[in-house]
C-alpha cells in the first residue's frame, strides 16, 4: 500500500469506536476528511457546499463530550455527506436547481437531526441531478460529478455526489434519496454500498419532494456493516411524516453475521436478458457465493417487473408535476418579475428549472390532463399493482431476490444526455422496487475493465434483515478490489 492509500479514511463503525474510546479525536478525523476533499474535489465535484468550519466546531463538541465522559453516539465523529435535497437549517440546499440557489432552509430534515444526534459530523451537501431527476448527475445546474474510478465517466445518479464522495474516500457515510434507483444505481457505478429502505421506514420530512409515493432516503457506505449502522440510526417513526411507518424497526447491524443458511434466494431471470455480460456474470457468481454459504438458490421469472419502467415514467412525472408546482417565485427561491402573478410564475419557473425537470413536469401535466388521466395515469397505477403482485407471488417462494443493479457499468460523461429515454433505461432494474415500496440494496461485487459492478439484493417490505444478511455474504465473496474508497484517477491510470 502506498502512503496515500494508508491515508484513506477508516470505516464508520471503526472510526466511531475509536472516537468513543478516546483513541482518536473527532477533530482529527474531520480535518483529515476535509484535507482529502481539498485535494481531490476540484477533479470530482461531489459537493455543492462544503461546511468545513461548522464540521470542525461539531467535531470539537464531540471530543469535549468524550472528554467529559459522555457517549456522543454510535456514529461519533464520523464524517457524513448529505445529498443536497435534504434540508439543512441555515445551510444552502439547492436540490441541484437554479430555482433554489441561495435558499437557506428554516428547518432540518428529520434524518439530518438523527445523524447529528448519533454523533456524525456533516461535512457538506452533495451534488445531484436537478430535483433528483436523472441517472448520471449531469442534470445538476451546477455541473456534473465525475466518477472517481474514471474521471471521464458519470457516477450515476441522481445521488451521484453522495456515491462519489464515499468512493473517493471523502467520507465513510453519505445519505441519498432513491425514487427509481437514485441510491442503488450510483452505488453500483461507484463501487460502494447503497440502500433503498422500505417505503416509510425512514422519514421523508425535509427531503425535497420529487415523487412522494416513491421517494425514500437511504444510506451510502463503503461496506455493508457501515451502511447497516447508518440505516439503524435513520430508521424509525417520525410524527412529522404522515407516511412514516409506525413500527419499531428491527436493527440490522446486530444480525449481519447470522449468515444465509436455508435462506431462499431467487435470481430474477428477466433482469439477465438485456444486462451487459459483466453485470450478468456478477449476478451468477453472487448466486454461487450465496449457495456455497447454504442458501437455496433458484432462478425465477417475474415478467411483470419489466412493466415497471413504463409505469414509473407515467407515475413519477405526474407526482413531480404536482410537487414542483410549489416553485412559483412567491415564498422562496428564484423570482423573475412579470406584469402579473401568472407571468411572474411562468418566467420564474422557466428561468429556474433545467431541461430534464421541464420535460418531466410537462410529461406529468400531460398524463394528468383532461382526457388522458385514466388512459395514462390510471393505467399506470393499475400496472403498478401488477408489479406489486409479481413481487408478492415471488416472495411466497423466496426470502430475497437478486439481480443486476444497473444494466451497465459507468458510462462516459455526455453519452446519454441527448437521449432522455436511453438515460431512463439505466433504472430498468431498480424501478420496480420503488413502485412496490420494498427495500433493495446494491453491493459492489466485481470489476469489468477496471470499473465496478454492483449486485442488487431485493426483499419484501420490512425485509431489511434478510436483505442485509445476504448482502453481507455477497460482500464477503466479492472482489475486494471492486469497492471504494479508491484513489481518484483517470481512465487507464494505474492504481
Amino acid at each position: 500500500m502506498s502512503a496515500s492509500a494508508e491515508a484513506r479514511p477508516a470505516g464508520a463503525v471503526e472510526t466511531a469506536a475509536a472516537v468513543r474510546s478516546g483513541a482518536r479525536r473527532a477533530r482529527d478525523v474531520v480535518a483529515a476528511a476535509l484535507a482529502r476533499i481539498a485535494t481531490y474535489e476540484g477533479e470530482i465535484h461531489c459537493f455543492n457546499t462544503v461546511t468545513g468550519d461548522a464540521a470542525l466546531v461539531a467535531a470539537n463538541r464531540i471530543d469535549a463530550a468524550v472528554a467529559a465522559g459522555h457517549d456522543p453516539g454510535p456514529l461519533a465523529g464520523v464524517p457524513i455527506a448529505l445529498k443536497d435535497n435534504l434540508c439543512t437549517r441555515g445551510v444552502p440546499t439547492t436540490a441541484g436547481s437554479r430555482i433554489l440557489e441561495g435558499w437557506l432552509p428554516p428547518y432540518d430534515a428529520t434524518v439530518v437531526g438523527a445523524v447529528e444526534a448519533a454523533g456524525a459530523v456533516v461535512v457538506g451537501k452533495t451534488n445531484l441531478d436537478e430535483f433528483a431527476m436523472g441517472s448520471s448527475t449531469e442534470n445538476s445546474a451546477f455541473g456534473p460529478t465525475h466518477n472517481p474510478w474514471d474521471l471521464n465517466r458519470v457516477p450515476g445518479g441522481s445521488s451521484g455526489g453522495s456515491a462519489a464522495a464515499v468512493a473517493a474516500g471523502f467520507v465513510p457515510l453519505a445519505l441519498g434519496s432513491d425514487t427509481g434507483g437514485s441510491v442503488r444505481q450510483p452505488a453500483s457505478l461507484c463501487g460502494v454500498v447503497g440502500v433503498k429502505p422500505t417505503y416509510g421506514l425512514v422519514s421523508r420530512y425535509g427531503l425535497i419532494a420529487f415523487a412522494s409515493s416513491l421517494d425514500q432516503v437511504g444510506p451510502f457506505a463503503a461496506s455493508v456493516a457501515d451502511a447497516a449502522a447508518l440505516l439503524d440510526v435513520v430508521a424509525g417513526h417520525d410524527p412529522a411524516d404522515s407516511t412514516s411507518l409506525d413500527v419499531a424497526p428491527e436493527p440490522v447491524a446486530s444480525h449481519l453475521d447470522d449468515g444465509v443458511a436455508g435462506l431462499r434466494v431467487g435470481v430474477i431471470s428477466d433482469f439477465l436478458v438485456d444486462a451487459s455480460p459483466s453485470c450478468v456474470a456478477a449476478v451468477r457468481e453472487a448466486a454461487e457465493v450465496l449457495a456455497a454459504a447454504g442458501a437455496v438458490v433458484e432462478e425465477v421469472a417475474i415478467p411483470a417487473l419489466m412493466l415497471g419502467l413504463s409505469a414509473y415514467y407515467l407515475v413519477a412525472p405526474a407526482e413531480a408535476s404536482s410537487n414542483l408546482a410549489r416553485y412559483d417565485g412567491v415564498r422562496y427561491g428564484l423570482r423573475v418579475d412579470g406584469a402579473d402573478v401568472s407571468r411572474m410564475n411562468g418566467r420564474s419557473r422557466s428561468a429556474g428549472f433545467g431541461p430534464e425537470v421541464k420535460r418531466r413536469i410537462m410529461l406529468g401535466t400531460y398524463v394528468l390532463s383532461a382526457g388522458y388521466y385514466d388512459a395514462y395515469y390510471g393505467q399506470a397505477q393499475r400496472v403498478r399493482t401488477l408489479v406489486a403482485h409479481g413481487f408478492a407471488d415471488a416472495y411466497e417462494r423466496f426470502d430475497v431476490l437478486i439481480g443486476p443493479t444497473s444494466p451497465t457499468v459507468a458510462f462516459e460523461i455526455g453519452a446519454k444526455t441527448q437521449d432522455p429515454l436511453a438515460m431512463y433505461l439505466s433504472d430498468l432494474y431498480t424501478i420496480p422496487t420503488n413502485l412496490a415500496g420494498h427495500p433493495a440494496m446494491s453491493v459492489p461485487f466485481s470489476l469489468s475493465a477496471g470499473l465496478p459492478v454492483g449486485v442488487q439484493v431485493l426483499a419484501p417490505a420490512l425485509g431489511e434483515g434478510p436483505m442485509f444478511r445476504a448482502a453481507a455474504v455477497i460482500e464477503h465473496g466479492a472482489d475486494p478490489g471492486a469497492r471504494g474508497p479508491i484513489e481518484p484517477r483517470s481512465a487507464g491510470a494505474a492504481r
Binding site: W103, L104, P106, Y107, Y199, G200, S213, S242, T243, L307, S310, A311, Y313, L314, A325, G329, V330, R331, Y332, G333, L334, R335, G338, A339, D340, V341, S342, G346, R349, S350, F353, K358, R359, I361, M362, L363, T365, Y366, S369, G371, Y372, A375, Y376, G378, Q379, A380, Q381, R382, V383, R384, T385, L386, A388, P420, L421, L435, A436, G437, H438, A461
Partner: protein, 103 residues
C-alpha cells in the same frame, strides 16, 4: 377515448407548458415535442395491457389520516421564513397584481 399513439405535437407542448406555468422559447417547443413523443411512445406500451379487474395502486402503504393531539408546539420562525422570500411587505409575501389592477 383519445388517440394514444405517440404524437406529442407542438400544440400539445404549448398547451401543457401553459398548464404547468412554463414559458418556453420557440426552439424549446420543437425539442420537447420530439423528446416527449419518443418517451410517450415507449411508455405507452402499458396502455394496451388488459387491466380489467386490476385495482389501482396510488401508494405503497394503506394510507389513513394521521392525526395528532391538538396541542400547541413550536413552529417555524416567521422572520427566518420571510427572509427567504423574494419580496415581503408588512410581514407578508408580496406578489405582482393578480387580476391586473394595481395594488
Amino acid at each position: 377515448m383519445p388517440e394514444l399513439t405517440a404524437s406529442f405535437s407542438r400544440d400539445d407542448v404549448v398547451y401543457v407548458a401553459q398548464l404547468a406555468r412554463l414559458d418556453l422559447e420557440r426552439g424549446e417547443v420543437d425539442l420537447y415535442a420530439a423528446q416527449l413523443a419518443s418517451i410517450l411512445d415507449h411508455v405507452a406500451a402499458v396502455t394496451s395491457l388488459d387491466t380489467t379487474d386490476v385495482p389501482a395502486t396510488a401508494h405503497p402503504l394503506e394510507l389513513a389520516n394521521v392525526l395528532r393531539p391538538d396541542t400547541p408546539g413550536p413552529t417555524l420562525d416567521r422572520a427566518e421564513v420571510l427572509a427567504q422570500a423574494p419580496l415581503v411587505e408588512g410581514g407578508r409575501f408580496r406578489v405582482p397584481p393578480i387580476l391586473g389592477e394595481a395594488p
